[in-house]
Amino acid sequence: MDALVSTGLRDTLIAGARVIDPASSFDGVADVLIRGGLIADIGTGLAAEDAETIAADGAVLCPGLVDMRVELGEPGREYRETIASVARAAAAAGITTLVALPDSLPAIDDPALVRLLLARGEETGSVTILPYGAVTRGCAGEQLAELGLLHEAGAVGFTDAGRTIGPARMMRLALSYARGFGGLIIQHPEEPSLSEGGCATEGELATRMGLPAIPAAAEAIQVARDVALVRLTGGRIHFAHVSTAEAIELIRRAKAEGLAVTCDTAPPYFDLNEIAIGEFRTYAKLSPPLRTDADRRAVVAALVDGTIDAVASDHQPRDADDKRLPFAQASAGGAGLMTLLPITLAQFHGGAITLPRAIELLTAGPARVLGLTQGRMGKGSAADLCLFHPDRAWKIEAGRMPGKAQNTPFDGRAVEGRVLGTWKAGKRVFG
């Protein structure tokens, strides 16, 4: 028993929590008993001798968050973020599973690298890292990567990260080939010849600021083409960080048609609009760029009606040297781990979505898209859990967040929703 305690695997009883598990549609006050790293029981009036008892006092207990889009920084850009620093930030954010983008140095286009990332995640003991494999070698867009071998090694999907799979023939090949083993292709939807060199959404603000701009239609054009290729190949596609009304409408129609099309978005696209880049604020320079408020409202509507399957942090760690540059030269991307839950909860506090729906977008939603066993909390499943108080307020401050990356577009924002505790396979890793 002493040995178990020393490794953090003492039995734990979380008592009197509002348990929300969207995967099973459970929402009610209950106790949860963690034993041997697994959820041993969920019910009322549970008691366990020797278990450490935590009074939840009405806080919400839900599955550990599943973040389906995270740039790690490691390997290759450790100055931005390391796996260890990501793991610390993830635990503080209630995230227990994260899916890593493959555009590292080197790119994750070799099965050995997939296995390396899986192992490095295990080493942290606080977060499961699931890698995406590259669609093309080096994410360079020219030659198909070894999709089958990557899949076999544990890649949960394929993407060239922030690079659009541009040529139609390459996307057709990827969709067709991956179909052979049920593989999922994740696309960054921005038609490359329209987005090249741009750094803001085309419109009045970009014109006023004199910034090279990208028309919002670049997203819809890419989505429209890829939907046609899904129809042609019978493959499965997932569109990352959708941000425009037009693209969302195309996805809505593709889903209604029964095509294997899913999508996610990230908090900046339903919480901010392009005004955030005013005064040349590079922390709000993202890819895709922030949109008009009409587009933002369309993203919210799609969170409500289910067109959007998941919310991902889109964590893109950048350091000061990447960001303290003239706007067009600054690197695009925002740190997203710490703001994932509270900014999503802002849609609940604002009345757009229910609390269970907010949690679904962060747990069961992404797990369903990627076919993962995580993101649920049934009896016998791994005790990956997040305990948070939805009403507790705090202020987001760049420079004071866990993890290396501090480049948040939400700097200075007051939010509600504080993580009180995070458990990874029964071990308390935060709080």
Partner: protein
């Protein structure tokens, strides 16, 4: 006013004050007198990340006429290639304790970034495709000298509006002062939603110029043709080049302006550019020095800025 980073946001009264001050400097310059005590003991650095002989010379002359110590730093790409960032440069300038910093950069917003980090007053001498405030002020001064006012005039800005910081600054200034602004050019050179800045868009030169008090031509850069924004200089001149025939639809005494340097035979015909009945292009250069003297003078007098105080 701590810096001059843009025309957008400047109050009409501030613009009018600057123009009045510039007018007095224009008269002083013509009289051959100097006023070297205005910036005596102050250091002005011209920090040019992009070549521009005429703007740099204009600021240099303005600074010297007011008695400043003027240094020119051409930070071409060499320092940048060595890894020096804009903020490293800012730190260097703070160490040199310069008072007035004139910045030209090929990136929109670069002077704003510098202004956050340097102690000197920053003057934007053109940033990317964002703004070129002193150019708009000198254009306004030139117009005001000929028309006696700015309000109620119809001004056509023609050519590559999308890539023109001069156009943006002029639109903000002329709108603020009560002029009516038109922009004229092919759709590929007109940026999205420009109407929201308070202009009327024309794609036909004759319609755009009809009844105009002022025709402001913009430089067309050759790279616009290589990027296929316009098919050729020959075609461009045919439809958008200013010649006597197109100018004839404007007011009989219409002013012709150009920020220079001109591509003769591309955006403007030599006969028009050199026609003393219309062209005020040389006067624009003269007013440039006066406007820059006014801006340097004004910024050196702002309340939170006192020369030598922090030394």
């Amino acid at each position: 006013m701590r810096h001059l980073l843009a025309i957008e946001g400047l109050a009409p009264t501030t613009i009018a004050e600057l123009l009045d001050l510039a007018e007095s400097y224009a008269l002083l310059n013509r009289s051959g007198k100097t006023q070297r005590d205005v910036l005596r003991g102050r250091t002005l650095i011209n920090l040019f990340f992009e070549d521009s002989t005429r703007t740099r010379t204009s600021f240099e002359l303005a600074g010297k006429r007011l008695g400043a110590d003027v240094l020119n730093m051409s930070v071409s790409t060499s320092s940048v290639k060595k890894g020096e960032t804009l903020l490293d440069t800012a730190s260097t300038l703070n160490a040199m304790q310069c008072d007035l910093l004139v910045v030209r950069h090929d990136q929109s917003g670069a002077p704003n970034l510098l202004a956050q980090k340097v102690e000197a007053a920053v003057i934007n001498a053109g940033d990317g495709t964002h703004e070129h405030p002193t150019q708009a002020l000198l254009d306004a001064l030139t117009i005001r000298r000929h028309r006696g006012k700015l309000e109620g005039l119809t001004i056509a800005i023609c050519g590559d509006i999308g890539h023109s910081r001069v156009a943006r600054s002029n639109i903000h200034l002329l709108n603020a002062m009560g002029s009516s602004v038109r922009v004229v050019g092919p759709p590929t050179l007109i940026p999205a939603a420009i109407e929201e800045l308070g202009v009327t868009v024309f794609h036909d030169m004759r319609s755009g110029l009809a009844g105009a008090d002022v025709v402001m031509m913009l430089r067309l850069q050759k790279e616009r043709m290589t990027r296929n924004l316009v098919p050729s200089s020959r075609e461009y001149f045919r439809f958008y080049g200013l010649d006597a025939e197109k100018l004839a639809v404007a007011k009989p005494d219409a002013l012709v302006m150009h920020p220079g340097p001109m591509n003769r035979g591309v955006e403007i015909d030599s006969a028009v550019a050199d026609d003393p009945a219309h062209s005020v292009i040389r006067e624009q250069v003269e007013m440039g020095v006066a406007v820059r003297m006014a801006v340097l003078d004004r910024l050196s007098r702002t309340s939170n800025y006192t020369a030598g105080a922090r030394r």
